[in-house]
Amino acid sequence: MIWEVFRQEKPGDYHRHVGNVHAPDREMAKLFAQIQHARRMQTNSLWVVPQSEIGEVDAEEAAFGGRTDKSYRWAMTYNDIDASFAKEVEDSEAEQREAAKKRREQLESEGEA
């Protein structure tokens, strides 16, 4: 049976998928996950999840964020609004811009843009 492993580096971080292990039960899976995925990496906690328990939707069956024109989410459509007056607004703009850029690159690489 295959178990997917999620590692959290520091308390408060997200658990991120790092790979999987082969094990007959949860206890063994936790042990193998420690050995294979946390022995040399800084780790605060591990989650192990049976692979069959993971539901997946992929880009072939769903249109994820960014595949439709969301330019209305950018106040640039109307005029230049300077977001730098408040750090949290500026951060949000930077994150959104980064996300938009990644989506664009993805679309280009798929030859859809």
Binding site: G12, E27, A86, D91
Partner: protein, 312 residues
């Protein structure tokens, strides 16, 4: 964990569902997150009115996206509150519908015109985002994680609000006057957004001691004023004489508390304002109207064997 240990260990993203937290912490965190979640729902409800009033298709699209965001934020937050094990999502939604759930003062007032959009989308959301950014380092990890996504989306609301304000303030003289009037009506409410001063706030100290809150009401209100007053002035809005704003010796801005209507504030805090009844009633009717969706989800979950328990 006892409360003293919690205070000692308190820090950003320090505690999570696997920690054995004392009842007092879990209740305080639930109260705070539930209030936040309720405010997202009620804010979304208030905001949906603007879709009707929006003057262009673009503005309507943007507003619809915003309402969608707010309702999504509420879902994230109810989930984060549930991880504390004090109340279920169902209970929290029922409380909101029954008028027992508390939510932000600004969302108790009805909105009637597009002129009010920047008051909510720029000033109120701007204030909210000031606060939310500090909550990325709250001690309850699921709450902080929710804030990561909330802040990611919220910047768009603030920028749109500013864009609307700018557009209105570049309109005809009548438009500018109407915007100024609306601003004067909303300004005191916006100043009360951050709640009572530190010495009047019942819950502030404990919430700060256990790391749920990282910044006090006063600090938030002042930093908000320092950023948003210059913005308002930039577009030609005049800051009303009352409530009086003054500059402290260190250059930070503050508001004279005695100029604010705290009776109205506390009436609202009890959900007893005229607008409260209207807003909660609208929410209750909607909650009822979509009961069939919840029921069909429940019956489906009950009938399907569900996900089999992972083989151990």
């Amino acid at each position: 964990m006892d409360i003293e240990t919690v205070k000692e260990r308190a820090g950003p993203r320090q505690f999570g569902p696997s920690d054995d937290m004392p009842e007092e912490y879990r209740r305080a965190a639930t109260r705070m997150i539930q209030f936040h979640a309720n405010s997202e729902v009620m804010g979304g409800y208030l905001d949906k009115e603007f879709t009707r009033h929006a003057p262009s298709l673009d503005r309507k699209l943007a507003n619809t996206a915003k309402v969608q965001d707010e309702i999504g934020h509420a879902q994230l937050l109810y989930r984060a509150a549930e991880t504390l094990g004090v109340k279920t999502r169902e209970e929290m939604l029922d409380e909101l519908q029954n008028g027992e759930g508390k939510f932000l003062n600004c969302f108790h007032y009805p909105v009637d015109s597009w002129y009010e959009a920047p008051m909510i989308d720029f000033f109120v959301d701007g204030g909210a985002m000031r606060r939310q950014a500090t909550l990325k380092s709250t001690s309850w990890t699921p709450y902080a994680h929710a804030m990561d996504k909330v802040c990611f989306e919220e910047g768009f609301h603030v920028k749109h609000g500013e864009s609307i304000l700018r557009e209105l303030m570049r309109g005809s003289k009548a438009t500018r006057e109407r915007t100024q009037e609306t601003f004067e009506e909303w300004w005191p409410r916006i100043l009360q957004f951050f709640g009572p001063t530190n010495d009047e706030s019942t819950h502030n100290d404990f919430a700060q001691e256990v790391g749920l809150k990282t910044t006090s009401n006063d600090e938030l209100r002042n930093s908000f004023l320092n950023m948003y007053v210059p913005k308002a002035e930039k577009y030609g809005l005049e800051i009303p004489e009352y409530p009086r704003i003054f500059e402290r010796d260190d250059g930070t801005m503050a508001v004279r508390e005695e100029d604010l209507d705290w009776d109205e504030f506390w009436t609202i805090a009890k959900n007893d304002y005229e607008g409260s009844h209207e807003q909660i009633g609208s929410r209750a009717r909607r909650q009822e109207a979509v009961a069939w969706v919840r029921e069909s989800l429940d019956s489906w979950e009950g009938s399907a064997a569900g996900t089999p328990q992972a083989a151990d």
